[in-house]
Amino acid sequence: MFDQLSGRLRGVLDALQGRGRLTEENIGDTLRQVRMALLEADVALPVVKTFIDGVRARVVGQEIEKSLTPGQALVRTIHEELVALMGEGSRSINLRAQPPVVILLAGLQGAGKTTTAGKLAKWLKEKERKKVLLASTDVYRPAAILQLERLAGQIEVGFYPSDPSKSPVTLAHEALDEARRSLYDVLIVDTAGRLHVDSDMMQEVRDISAAVNPLETLFIVDSMAGQDAVNAARAFGEALTLTGVILTKADGDARGGAALSVRQVTGKPILFIGTGEKSAALEVFQAERVAGRILGMGDVLSLVEDVTRQVDREQAERLAAKLKKGKDFDLNDLHDQLGQVEKMGGLAALVDKLPTKLLGKAGTVPKPDDKEIKRQLAIIRSMTPQERRHPKVIDGSRRRRIALGSGLQVADVNRLLKNFLQMQKMMKSMTKGGGMARMMRAMAGKLPPGLGG
């Protein structure tokens, strides 16, 4: 499913490449594809609609950075928007109150409340050095209280032995008394799973909340949840004063769109994600990661990131201006280009990140050799400034010196110079033949193969 989605989004990018800039029409198509991608990730339909409208409003008329294709720019905007939404109000768990601080967990059946209660207790004990008491108010599910007791034993935190013949509200009161009496820092109250349409049970959890007055009321949601997550989240949000969300079972291959839905509907930050079977498998939520996964295009995004962060755009523009003035592409320019490729993690890393369509073209290219780039840089660095500006002065004796200086053979120096001359010729013909944009585009496509040979 992941591959399928990535493929679809690559298609989106390819379709946009070379169109110059974003218009109402071409983003219309693209946004429809993004809408489908988000729906496939299980983001709730109303949330998708609101989100897409927001993005549309933002991108129309937006200036696109020259170093990005329109498709990349759009994807980046979408990603930024997603990260902003997911990460808004991002914070760590609140423990700033007079102990015992009460944390209440609520959610649907099978969301993973009890397992999360154990994980959270372990986290608070180990990372925050808190003395934690676990208490269950689940008198319905067979052996639910026992499950929590076992977990408390495994992670060595306190456990309040709830009597299942008492009411959940009474049990919550008792657990709080015990937490006060025995000077616990934190009391985690687990509740029975309940359907949001079960009004008796929703009233019950409200009563439990009133009994313990929690500082944190966390909604536990399965990252594999579908469209209905939004209804559940809304109902729980109306019944309780939710303060945060924990996303469970995030170690599978679900895209986790429910996280966005729940985030939007409750307006509360996601504090943690559960990432595995073990008690230690609880991680602090990172908006970047979850947003990237919902969108399902980490490869494209990291390329965009690399390009914008590391390519010196001024340098590229300087080169373009120089060539336009009719000056020759010299070895200094080649050095800069090679240096950029190296900064981005080498050719192999770059090729890995390119969309499929570009990859198809790159398929004819000999396998990129990053050592080769290093060697070529070494050769150029062994030249004098004059040699770099005017490669024609490099005679046999200079070649020998350069070879010695770079620790390579004269043949390597010869090969570099030969390649360079070809490239220089190519640059010249392109400056004559067409505009700046065409030249830059051709450079982007042709530079690595030319160098690799």
Partner: protein, 327 residues
């Protein structure tokens, strides 16, 4: 033994007394002969089909977790019919929609017949964490027992804290024997034990529980394959049913679950749980369409009797009824 309460008054939860989810639904639907028309009436001045109607149908399918791909395919078929003027009015459109959904689901509505199989009929119950496997086993035990069958349970979830005890409670409620060993035991050993005991004690059905696992956890999927192999050592035809439990609240990932569990074990039946909420479980359409796995039962509540044989027509009627999701 654990002194547990039931949320429902046991007096009123006898098999005959409760109309059952689908029956309740049918009664509700009968109140208006053309419930969908009624539902969509405000969209349709004059009963003509327009873009808004099709969009509304798309919304309903998507919010029911049917998925973009399946939804698009169903709707493009309808659009073609509309273009060819085969569908004169809304009623015709809805009938066409309903029948295209039925075409997908009807072949998968194949009930499980344990009496037809060998004895003891061994059922291996699998699924992701929190899908409702143990509860489903409790309900199945209740149902089979009511049919006069001799049932045994095997507590193969030796991983999750107190899972064995949870199954033991269901065994006690239904008064059926439970084969269990200490937590942390190899699940294959426990289920092997269950296979032998059920044979020795002349049982009709063995229900084997397993720990919840994400379908992407390869080592845990291997563990299940081993369980299956070991069952086959006692009876080469076992397990006679590999039952995948799916939570109706799950989204598109449920298709992936079905695919991978099927690849690993050869799933022979699906139980769709937690259909008593507002989740519609529409992803089974995609599962039915692509994997053609039989859908056996639906879970519709917490009580032992809140369980029904899957009924494609009632399922579709519920799926298309107005979602509570507000725009």
């Amino acid at each position: 033994m654990f002194g547990l309460k039931s949320k429902k008054d046991p007096e009123n939860s006898g098999d005959g007394a409760q109309p059952g989810f689908f029956n309740r639904l049918r009664q509700k639907l009968k109140q208006s002969t053309s419930w969908l028309t009624h539902d969509l009436a405000n969209l349709l001045p004059g009963g003509k089909i327009n873009a808004a109607v099709l969009e509304e149908l798309e919304t309903r399918l998507i919010t029911a977790d049917v998925g973009v791909e399946t939804t698009e395919r169903i709707l493009s078929g309808l659009r073609k019919q509309v273009e060819r003027r085969e569908l004169g009015d809304l009623d015709a459109l809805l009938r066409a929609l309903r029948s295209s959904l039925l075409d997908i689901l009807k072949p998968c509505a194949r009930p499980l017949n344990v009496r037809a199989g060998p004895r003891p009929f061994a059922i291996l119950v699998v699924g992701v964490n929190g899908a409702g496997k143990t509860t489903t086993i409790g309900k199945l035990a209740h149902r089979f027992k009511a049919e006069g069958l001799k049932i045994m349970l095997a507590a193969g979830d030796t991983f999750r804290a107190a899972a064995v005890e949870q199954l033991a409670v269901w065994g006690e409620r239904n008064q059926v024997p439970v084969i269990m060993q200490a937590a942390g035991t190899d699940p294959a050993a426990v289920i092997f034990d269950g296979m032998q005991s059920s044979r020795a004690r002349d049982m009709d059905v063995l229900l084997a529980d397993t720990a919840g696992r994400l379908h992407t956890q390869l080592n845990l999927m291997e563990e299940l394959k081993k369980v299956k192999r070991v069952m086959g050592r006692v009876d080469p035809s076992a397990p006679h049913e590999v039952l995948l439990v799916l939570d109706a609240g799950q989204g598109q990932n449920a298709l992936q679950q079905a695919k991978l569990f099927n690849e690993a074990l050869g799933v022979s039946g699906i139980v769709l749980t937690k259909l008593d909420g507002t989740a519609k479980g529409g992803i089974v359409l995609a599962i039915a369409d692509r994997l053609r796995l039989p859908i056996r039962f639906v879970g519709i509540g917490e009580g032992a009797e809140d369980f029904a044989v899957f009924d494609a027509e009632a399922f579709i009627d519920d799926l298309l009824a107005t979602g509570k999701q507000a725009a």
